[in-house]
């Protein structure tokens, strides 16, 4: 039973070793990190073999007691480091360790000349540790701790090139958006703990039916679910807090692939699936979740159609797909969400690594209108990118088709409006991915660098090929059923056909519009400027800070300084001024006052009751 601990702690060991000892030898650091993740992968495979039953296994939790507050003031509270091994965590293990190791290997090539390579690989190892912690968590507190750790790793990795102005700002933005979400998450955890007196998932699951039967608890449960969902809004970049994900592309491309496509942003959805027994207690909250997911999906797809940076397009595409996953949870299909998460991880990582290959080949050029004509020069890249694109668009036969349709079927059965929005987003997805593919790979080379591009080294295209296989095949039952419990098919429905038609329409329109273009024929400022969300938020923050500063200034200057301090001082001065008249230096006057005092004293002693 040592396997889970090996999986969890080996990356941590690697991060510690790199930071403390091997920072000077960059290649050694890289090798340590890659070795650690491969060990974790091997241990995961071994774990898989030991526990072959995918989803039937109820987690036999292993525990490492960590915080124990039993007995303090009659409170029973323990925070153990626990391990949950069930179908859900095993599927995520495969995603995280598998894609993680491929990206580690890819980074060996991509970051070969980077100066901060040791830091980078230490950050990657720390991230692996944190993500595996989330995957394995068996109680809310542990999940929250590793949730925050993942945020920290993301911050470190986004701001890897800290000498430039943009990456640290982007890292700050990511972390702050995450923190805002995590605040709600913490409130949700506290609410659940108040209601069920426990943070352990199994105990909560056992305590919930009693709560659901009590109609007075319904608003409380809704509030708890919505607060927990705030964590997802922050981590998985859903509608109000989505602004950090596109900016997070300032980090190196493998980081974008690993963290902001495949694993970290998926942690929000994973968490919802993990605590789905809490989420499903409140229908109102699920409605909200579904709509936020839908809005994110449509908004992000609209914004993606006008972006010119290859990584930005893929980032908005990630946002859109995350919206799909959250929408799936909202329409009571957590299995659909996990299915899509699984397939999305593979093809999105593939797309990002492919984009990295393109960027690398064009000498770190990221604007798609300065690429072009690459389809002859980078065969492996083009082929794998094509596989990823087709999977993303949900073309029949690729993995994305199965997972996206599972979601759309669930949506069509519960809420027609959401279903139509989902179809619209599918259309847009096909449109902008076709735009991306056509502009980057077809046509003539638009710049010198593009003209001289050549294929990337083996260490970079091999992971692409390795990822293309599950990107294609992950949807098929004989593959996926080993890992996940997929939603049942309710016979034949029209939804797959309609979705396919919509996707095909998007492909055709995109191809026709963007064939042989030198610059973007369509320009919609609202979309190109990302609906001005950044500007709105900046304005809000600026105004709020300004208002707070004004109020503080007012309070400080007028109320505290004048009303309180000056008043006290003046009061004292005034009293002194008045009392000074008693001491006028005339002795006989003093005697008079003495006499008056004595008379008054007599009065009070003798006559006053």
């Amino acid at each position: 039973m040592q396997l889970p601990w090996i999986i969890l702690f080996t990356p941590l060991l690697s991060a510690v070793l790199i930071i403390l000892f091997t920072q000077r030898w960059r290649n050694l650091s890289a090798l340590i990190s890659i070795a650690a993740v491969l060990v974790s992968l091997a241990a995961s495979v071994e774990l898989f073999r030991t526990f072959p039953d995918a989803w039937n296994l109820k987690s036999p939790s292993l525990q490492l007691p960590w915080l124990d507050f039993t007995g303090y003031a009659g409170v029973q509270f323990q925070v153990p480091i626990g391990i949950t091994i069930d179908g859900l965590s095993k599927a995520m293990l495969i995603v995280v360790c598998g894609i993680g190791s491929l990206i580690h290997i890819y980074s060996w090539g991509y970051m070969a000349e980077d100066e901060g390579k040791s830091r980078y690989f230490a950050g990657l190892s720390l991230f692996m540790f944190s993500m595996l912690g989330i995957v394995f968590a068996n109680n809310f507190a542990m999940m929250f701790i590793f949730w925050e750790l993942v945020g920290v790793s993301s911050y470190i990795l986004i701001g890897h090139w800290y000498n430039k102005p943009a990456p640290p700002a982007a890292a700050n933005k990511a972390f702050i958006c995450n923190r805002i979400g995590d605040f709600g998450f913490m409130l949700g955890i506290l609410l659940v703990w108040t209601a069920t007196k426990s943070i352990d998932f199994t105990e909560i699951q056992d305590a919930l039916p009693a709560l659901v039967k009590n109609p007075a608890m319904a608003p409380f449960l809704t509030a708890a679910v919505l607060c927990i969902f705030c964590g997802t809004i922050g981590k998985s970049a859903q509608f109000p807090l989505h602004v950090w994900l596109p900016d997070a592309m300032e980090g190196p491309t493998p980081v974008s692939a690993l963290i902001h496509a495949a694993t970290m942003v998926a942690a929000g959805v994973y968490m919802l699936a993990r605590v789905y027994f809490v989420v499903e207690t409140s229908a109102a909250a699920m409605e909200v979740i579904a709509w936020i997911g839908t809005i994110t999906a449509v908004l992000a797809a609209l914004m993606a159609t006008q972006q010119n940076d290859i990584k930005r397009v893929l980032a908005y595409s990630t946002l859109s797909q995350l919206g799909y996953m959250v929408m799936a949870v909202g329409v009571a299909s957590p299995h659909g969400a996990m299915f899509h998460l699984f397939t999305h991880a593979f093809f999105k990582a593939l797309l990002f690594l492919g984009a990295g290959a393109v960027i690398y080949a064009c000498h770190h050029e990221q604007d798609i209108w300065r690429m072009g004509g690459l389809w002859k020069k980078q065969p492996f890249t083009v082929a794998t990118f094509a596989v990823g694109t087709l999977a993303l668009m949900g073309v029949y036969g690729f993995s994305g088709f199965f997972s996206k349709d599972a979601i759309l079927i669930a949506a069509s059965e519960s809420n027609k409006a959401i279903y139509y929005c989902g179809l619209f987003a599918a259309f847009l997805t096909a449109f902008y991915m076709t735009r991306l593919f056509v502009v980057v790979f077809f046509g003539k080379a638009r710049t010198e660098h593009a003209a001289h591009a050549h294929e990337v080294p083996v260490v970079m295209w091999l992971p692409l090929v390795l990822l293309a296989i599950p990107a294609f095949a992950a949807g098929y039952p004989w593959f996926i059923e080993q890992f996940l419990h997929t939603p049942e098919h309710h016979g034949h429905s029209l939804v797959p056909c309609i979705a396919s038609c919509v996707g095909l329409a998007g492909i055709v329109i995109g191809f026709l519009v963007y064939r042989k273009q030198e610059k973007d024929p369509i320009y919609i400022p609202l979309l190109a400027n990302k609906f001005y969300f950044d500007e709105i938020y900046a304005l809000i923050v600026w105004n709020t800070q300004d208002l707070l500063a004004r109020i503080s200034g007012f309070v400080d200057r007028w109320i505290i300084d004048t009303a309180i301090v000056r008043c006290l001082a003046s009061g004292t001065w005034g009293c002194g001024f008045i009392l000074r008249f008693i001491q006028y230096g005339n002795l006989q006057g003093y005697a008079l006052l003495l006499g008056a005092g004595v008379v008054a004293l007599f009065y009070f002693i003798l006559f006053f009751k």
């Binding site: 008079l592 006499g595 008056a596 007599f602 009065y603 003798l606």
Partner: protein, 166 residues
């Protein structure tokens, strides 16, 4: 003592006391005070305190007031000028005075035991004898201390009146 006699002497005492306080000429003031003290001595006599009455005349009226007169003559004090006293001061003082008198009257009003007549004394008391006995037996120590006090006072007066040595 018949009541009217008491009131005559009490009134005389108060009037001359007021004269002592209000007169602008210091000599007249001192002499008024002497008369007032004599009337006080009469009141002492009316209270069967013969020894104290005589002592009052001898020491207070005879020695202390004479000393006052000596000093007034020595310093050659002139009559004071009439001066203006502002109205608020007068009113304030009068108010306090009135309040004091009112309180006095009220307190005495609430002292019913004081309205009873004086107890009768055994006739033929030898006042000086009794006081002498008490002075030298019970109050011997204070008596000696008074002696020392007067000695110290004398020395003090001599020291204070020295002119500066050139």
């Amino acid at each position: 003592m018949p009541l009217y006699l008491f009131w005559i002497f009490a009134a005389l005492m108060l009037v001359f006391g007021a004269a002592a306080v209000l007169n602008r000429n210091p000599v007249a003031s001192a002499l008024s005070l002497v008369v007032s003290l004599l009337n006080l001595a009469v009141l002492f006599f009316s209270l069967d305190a013969y020894f104290i009455g005589v002592i009052q005349i001898l020491v207070y009226a005879g020695a202390v007031m004479v000393l006052f007169l000596f000093i007034i003559m020595l310093l050659d004090l002139k009559a004071e000028q009439r001066r203006r006293i502002s109205l608020p001061v007068v009113l304030g003082g009068a108010a306090i005075l009135a309040a004091f008198v009112a309180q006095l009257v009220t307190v005495l009003h609430r002292f019913p035991a004081g309205d009873k007549p004086f107890p009768a004394l055994t006739p033929g008391l030898n006042d000086a004898h009794n006081i002498g006995m008490m002075l030298f037996s019970n109050y011997n120590l204070p008596f000696q201390v008074i002696g020392v006090l007067i000695l110290v006072a004398s020395i003090g007066v001599v020291v204070l009146s020295k002119r500066e040595l050139n």
